[in-house]
Symmetry: C2
Subunit: 354 residues, 2 copies
């Protein structure tokens, strides 16, 4: 690994490791994106996957929110679909529909179409983007890398795109449990290599997004999500025990206890989970991240500040990384994102000094 500029703000890393810090760190899921005019400007001349695949552009977009707001982390501008793409599936970004697979895995036989990629060849552009971004960040804040979780990627690969019920993907779990496990394992193996490669390329913290975990019953979660999530953390930690790992199993409210017993350092919570109840349940087993309702950013500044204060009080002063319960929305006002970030600074500073 090449030498990177030294880090000036390691607040989020120390908090993620469970250390006591002087303030609650803050970042926002999807903090780089359409709600920012400077991002939309870039997109006027470059399409979505062009930005993802061009390290200089990805770096520029990644750093935009860090230039604008006093954030404690940058997260690489990328997409979870690069992994299914590396496995040989074609992904298109369809306006108004999101990522779409024109030829999804409609039956287990179709898994024959999948390839076992050379990670550096297939995903080298992500590694390069991380290295370029880390250099450009110049040590201002840590750089977060990420991947989609096996189940969430499977949901898209089988369904072919966004869906309200994901019933094609979910029917696989009941109709083809063994093929489902084989697909999840193949995806897991690639994700492990991908995440290790991200660390080697410059990522200082990693988040695994299981965006569709909430589709599961407690039982199917235990069978088709948890073992693969668990494996990812265990295997990444073998080589990189000091890099904090975050898992965001959106909607899997029933799984907090089980996830707290894995090797993830941080559990990211969606906004349906009560912060103080999560704290009681998880105890000291994990740091918690989240979880303001993204729609609270539509509130007038005064009301938004009260929401932030309330959330921070629920989590407590320590072992908490402030974030939203899900990503920024395209019609969010950047000024309200600033109110959110600054309110975390102010209130958490007060909480840490009393």
């Amino acid at each position: 690994m090449s030498a990177f500029p030294s880090l000036q703000n390691d607040l989020i890393l120390r908090t993620a490791r469970g250390e006591t810090t002087s303030r609650t760190p803050v970042w926002m899921m999807r903090q780089a994106g359409r709600y920012l005019p400077e991002y939309r400007k870039i997109r006027e001349s470059h399409d979505f996957f062009e930005v993802v695949e061009t390290p200089e552009l990805a770096a520029e977009v990644t750093i935009q929110p860090v230039d604008r707001f006093p954030l404690d982390a940058a997260i690489l501008f990328c997409d979870i679909m690069v992994v299914p793409e590396a496995m040989g599936l074609t992904v298109e970004m369809v306006s108004g529909r999101g990522p779409t697979f024109p030829e999804p895995l409609s039956t287990p036989d179709e898994m024959e179409r999948l390839v076992e990629p050379d990670v550096d060849e297939a995903l080298g552009h992500v590694f390069e983007a991380l290295t370029v971004t880390r250099r450009k960040l110049d040590g201002r804040v840590p750089l977060i890398g990420f991947a989609g979780a096996p189940w969430t990627l499977m949901a898209y690969m089988v369904e072919g795109g966004g869906s309200s019920s994901y019933r094609a993907a979910r029917s696989w779990l009941y109709r083809h449990p063994d093929a489902s496990k084989a697909l999840l394992q193949r995806t897991t193996d690639l994700i492990v290599d991908y995440l290790k490669g991200q660390i080697e390329a410059g990522a200082q913290m990693l988040q695994v997004f299981d965006s569709w975990a909430g589709l599961h019953s407690p039982e199917t979660f235990r069978t088709f999500c948890l073992p693969y999530l668990d494996q990812i953390a265990t295997e990444v930690k073998v080589d990189h025990p000091d890099v904090p790992l975050v898992v965001f199993a959106k909607g899997a409210h029933h799984a907090l206890g089980a996830l707290a017993d894995t090797d993830y350092d941080v559990l990211s919570l969606d906004h349906t989970v009560d912060p103080s109840e999560a704290r009681t349940l998880v105890g000291d087993r994990a740091v918690l991240q989240g979880n303001l309702d993204p729609c609270a950013l539509y509130a007038p500044p005064e009301a938004l500040r009260r929401e932030v204060q309330h959330m921070l009080a629920g989590f407590g002063a320590h072992q908490h990384i402030a974030n939203l319960g899900h990503g920024m929305l395209p019609d969010h006002d950047p000024d309200h994102a600033r109110v959110f970030v600054k309110a975390v600074h102010e209130h958490s500073h007060r909480m840490h000094t009393v």
Copy 2:
């Protein structure tokens, strides 16, 4: 009220009232619908809202699953959108998109377009459908009526149709909290009259569907869902204390305790809730309904039977109405629905005799 044929199977009513019964009653949300060939046959010559608005057709479709499977209840074939329609909004059923409002309430000013309907005039076709269906059912099983919850109806009225985030509707809660409460209260008042009218027309049990309750944080649920759900139960019970009321706050896993303290007799659970944990939390305060993952119906019959057995064991022999965690899906196999219903009969019979 005219005299109706006497009831031969009141199992579900007795269970809903907390009485000890000889077997667990069973029905399925959306048990009348597209997965049934006899329903699709009717729809070849009648569009969706024509079936809803023609009492003879609604009755026929309602009774189809009762003719086919040994169910313990019929639920009127109708749509939650009849209430917004009665309030003056135009609703269209768009193929592949579901119910759609061509002119949604994009701002609070638009609420001026809403009318205060005469319930019998605006919703008389539903009452008539209930009366006709109850007669035709001839006392075989009780007839369930239903309504959408105020928040769920507001979500559609503001958003204009199905959405992945309902951010237009949810932004109202933060931007226009008072207007939101006014809209929710107007809807609540109409729902109360509508449900009372349903009982007078022949409904023997009622379910309130808060299908989008899961979009809320615990706090916004407490502010914008719970008080209105609570009011509905309280006010309907004033006139009809003996008619069992069911509430299905889908996704509001955090609210089970609070809902157990309302006047609803039965809490319907989605499939993300663990049955035995719900039982522990709720205790004797409410009967529980649910909650097999609808996708479990894709499993081969043997696996499906095991899932049913496992679910029944989780809820225990009493104070439980077996159902799915959400509605039947259009590509479900009717033979698997039969396996589900019969497995409830068999396993629960065994549980009740040991």
